[in-house]
């Protein structure tokens, strides 16, 4: 017996997704988009934090209202299991036998206590592919550090590197290690799947989300580790571009502020910009760097009397990189995102309709049409337990009575 099979490059691939919040679920979402059958397992006893942070439908907090949860779990089948209960562990083992890929993000060593870690699961199924994704990895003196990507941002250096030189670190928005990590995990899982299909060999992936994020800081790390100075936060300054920053614009009605991002890459672009704003076009790159305050003040004086969209148009038409610093309302109305059908509206049994992001890439020959929103708690328990695992109504009742499904 089986669940309905999807369509796309991963049709028929079976994924058991025990991860939570963002880093892990994002990986499962991508696989579901492209046809994999993904069962998302969660326990209402330990609420997934993604369910209790916004953005919420209608700005009303609630565990079935979270747009974040919806965005990273769309297209999955939902099962509730409390793995502390032995009966739930047995269900988990059955599902691990069913799955090609198991994805989990428990604190290191937790699954081992229940004999559900890779060592034990590969006894059941040697060709299993498994991803364990935590902030700092499965091994090492600090493998027991748990928490969210906000802590991860601190431990991956990126919190320290976002901010003004004369102020404490501001940090990036949200749990930053959750953003790079799924890219590395998805790529490796798909490579593992390809390898297993060719060789029959199983693969285990130990992901430290911080180490994935450090890949995006690699130039600064290499510089420091090889005798250079440690990079410090520097607002929007760039070592090679000036002007380079975020400049104030006229705020439209109902808004308190408006900004435009401008990056001038070379002297040709500067000459174009200088003519537009009435600045000294003869300044070389070095001169602009030396007179950064003066140069950037002249840009700000010009932008501050104009609407940000007008500045974007004016500069882009001259070949200068500029963009409105978009609000989420701007993104909703962005013709480029609309052109890519980036935002997808799906019918939703509680909200009438919900909105999710489309995939992060467009494949010319594998279009993605998400059709199902993220599961509500236990939405597919019966389907999975009955149709997939062949349990009787009585057995399911017993499971529920044992606490395995809560």
């Amino acid at each position: 017996m089986t669940l309905p099979v999807g369509s796309g490059p991963l049709a028929g691939v079976k994924v058991l997704d025990l991860s939570w919040i963002v880093a892990g679920p994002t990986v499962g979402r991508a696989m579901a988009d492209f046809g994999a059958t993904v069962i998302r397992v969660e326990s209402p006893t330990r609420v997934d934090t993604a369910r209790v942070v916004g953005p919420f439908h209608g700005d009303e907090p609630g565990i079935e209202h979270s747009g974040l949860y919806g965005n990273v779990n769309a297209g999955k089948w939902g099962l509730t299991l409390n793995l502390r209960v032995p009966e739930a562990q047995e269900i988990f083992r059955q599902l691990a036998r069913w799955a090609d890929i198991v994805s989990e993000s428990f604190t290191a060593e937790v699954l081992a206590r229940w004999q559900l870690d890779y060592e034990h699961l590969r006894q059941l199924k040697p060709e299993l592919i498994m991803l364990s994704s935590t902030l700092l990895g499965q091994t090492g003196p600090y493998n027991q550090v748990s928490g969210f990507g906000s802590q991860g941002a601190g431990m991956a250096g990126v919190q320290y590197l976002a901010g003004w030189a004369d102020r404490p670190p501001a940090g990036p928005f949200g749990p930053y290690t959750d953003y790079p990590a799924p890219r590395f995990a998805l790529t490796a899982l798909l490579a593992a799947l390809d390898h297993r299909n060719r060789t029959g060999e199983g693969v285990y992936i130990d992901q430290a989300q911080a180490e994935g994020t450090l890949q995006l800081l690699a130039p600064a790390l290499i510089d420091y580790k090889n005798g250079g100075p440690p990079l410090e936060r520097r607002g929007n300054d760039d070592p090679q571009m000036c002007p380079h920053g975020v400049f104030p614009c006229l705020a439209s009605e109902g808004r308190s502020e408006s900004w435009v991002a401008i990056a001038v890459a070379d002297d040709v672009q500067w000459r174009e910009l200088a003519q537009l704003i009435g600045a000294d076009a003869s300044y070389s790159s070095d001169q602009r760097m030396q007179r950064k305050s003066e140069v950037e003040a002249s840009v700000a004086a010009w932008t501050s009397t104009r609407a940000s969209a007008e500045v974007e148009q004016a500069l882009q038409s001259k070949g200068i990189s500029a963009h409105v610093v978009s609000t989420t309302e701007d993104a909703a109305n962005d013709p480029q995102l609309a052109h890519r059908s980036h935002f997808r509206r799906l019918p939703h049994s509680l909200h009438g309709e919900t909105v999710i992001e489309g995939p992060r890439y467009i494949l010319s020959d594998a279009p993605v049409e998400p059709t199902r929103p993220a599961p509500q708690y236990g939405e597919h328990n019966e389907l999975i337990l009955k149709e997939l695992l062949g349990l009787s109504d009585e057995q399911i009742q017993d499971l529920a009575a044992s606490g395995a499904l809560s």
């Binding site: 492209f34 609420v47 997934d48 934090t49 916004g54 953005p55 439908h57 747009g67 974040l68 091994t139 090492g140 493998n143 550090v145 928490g147 802590q151 601190g154 431990m155 250096g157 003004w164 404490p168 670190p169 501001a170 928005f173 930053y176 953003y179 790079p180 890219r183 790529t187 199983g202 890949q215 995006l216 690699a218 130039p219 600064a220 290499i222 510089d223 090889n226 440690p230 990079l231 936060r233 520097r234 760039d238 380079h244 991002a261 890459a265 990189s321 963009h323 610093v325 978009s326 609000t327 989420t328 701007d330 909703a332 480029q336 052109h339 909105v355 992001e357 467009i362 010319s364 594998a366």
Partner: protein, 412 residues
């Protein structure tokens, strides 16, 4: 794992990480540069002892082989076609339209190499009203919406000081390419993978990019924390030698961490034992109906800030583990360089460059077991300009004399 596959990597600084991700998983990745070198070789920072050598370029070409090829010359394009005969992937990140101008569009290459997976990385995507926009790290971060959410509320929004946008897009390019490989197993055909860095950047918003369309409030920036309904909430705290990330809140998802924090405060003598009776999981609900003191939680926060101010980052990391708190040190690059965790996981790798220098690199992003055996780390140093011309073009049938001839004519 990807050893059967070859990648022809035409990217510049904008997409250069994508091929490395595939190289670290075992693919044979050939970085192709113009004879004068990629523009990526001009991107800061530069090695302290060699002012002309880009660390940025080295960082993301580690693990690849390198050749030169003048794609503006028809003989150069013939060389590229030779490489593509043996390739599974082509990855490029040039300005939209440039590949087509060279006669190397997806459509024309797909006709000639129907199994080739052709991945394009650009700021806004290959088509659409902004496809021709000039991209930059800052403009992409602005267009994807994370920029407005980041920074102190009394100053302009800010980016991360080591540019991030193209890294996210490159990561998506690697994943999208792998999806196309699985599609090829089904259909026998390659396809075009179109990555928009703007869309990739939207990942860095914790789903807030959807706020307006869901009827939620616009997120607002607040340095070192978040702002909710105009109210700034600090998510960081000062310690003796820097800062920590400190999250403490009541509620069903994270209230138990606040309970753990209370236990530490009591154990360390910073709070009265009576506080152990309080349950932060249910506190918010109780406070809302007048069954808990609304001043209690703010007081606990205050006690916590006072207590951590007398500790160090390292001490708090240990407390975080011992008591299971939502707390972590804000590590500097110096701290990362000395991290016992990274050292234990053998994160730093010394790699010998072609000129004999030993350079320390961050390790591969994942620890992988294949059939329960450690998957070997790709220790190939970044290629010098054209370093593998003879080797790679030799593999597709060119003699050394032919290669010499092409080099003298400026094709290589």
């Amino acid at each position: 794992m990807l050893s059967p596959y070859r990648v022809v990597d035409l990217t510049d600084e904008r997409g250069v990480l994508a091929g490395q991700m595939l190289a670290d998983l075992g693919a044979d990745v050939i970085q192709v540069e113009p004879p004068g070198g990629s523009t990526g070789r001009g991107v800061a920072p530069f090695f302290a002892d060699r002012a002309q050598e880009s660390i940025y370029w080295a960082a993301y070409t580690r693990g690849k082989r390198g050749v030169t090829c003048n794609l503006e010359d028809p003989r150069g394009r013939d060389l590229l076609f030779g490489l593509l005969e043996t390739a599974d992937f082509l990855i490029e990140s040039s300005d939209v339209g440039r590949m087509a101008a060279l006669g190397l569009s997806y459509e024309s290459l797909h006709e000639r190499f129907p199994r080739l997976i052709y991945t394009s990385i650009s700021a806004f995507g290959q088509t659409g009203p902004k496809a021709d926009y000039v991209g930059s790290d800052l403009a992409i971060w602005a267009a994807g919406t994370p920029l407005l959410m980041t920074g102190d509320d009394d100053r302009p929004p800010i980016r991360v000081s080591q540019p991030q946008s193209w890294g996210h897009a490159s990561g998506d390019a690697a994943g999208g390419s792998m999806l196309a490989l699985h599609a090829r197993h089904q259909t026998g055909r390659g396809q075009h993978v179109d990555v928009s860095a703007q869309v990739s950047a939207a990942q860095a918003t914790l789903g807030q990019v959807l706020a307006y369309q869901l009827g939620a409030v616009e997120p607002e920036r607040f340095g070192g924390g978040v702002k909710i309904r105009g109210q700034g909430i600090r998510g960081t705290a000062d310690v003796l030698d820097g800062h920590i990330v400190l999250m403490m809140a009541p509620g069903p998802a994270v209230g138990h961490f606040a309970n753990h924090a209370i236990k530490w405060l009591v154990d360390s003598g910073a709070a009265e034992p009576a506080l152990l009776e309080e349950d932060m999981v249910t506190y918010a609900d109780r406070a809302a109906v007048g069954q808990a003191d609304p001043e209690l939680f703010p007081r606990i926060q205050h006690l916590m800030r006072d207590r951590v101010a007398r500790t160090t980052k390292q001490e708090m990391l240990q407390v975080s583990i011992d008591y299971d708190l939502l707390l972590a040190p804000v590590l500097t690059l110096v701290d990362l360089g000395e991290s016992r965790q990274l050292e234990h996981r053998e994160f730093w790798n010394e790699i010998e460059h072609a000129d004999g220098r030993r350079v320390t690199y961050p390790g591969p992003p994942l620890k992988i077991l294949v059939d329960d055996q450690p998957f070997g780390h790709n220790r190939r140093p970044p290629p010098e300009l054209g370093q593998h011309n003879v080797e790679v073009y030799g593999e597709v049938g060119l003699s050394e004399a032919q290669i010499q001839q092409l080099r003298s004519e400026g094709v290589l």
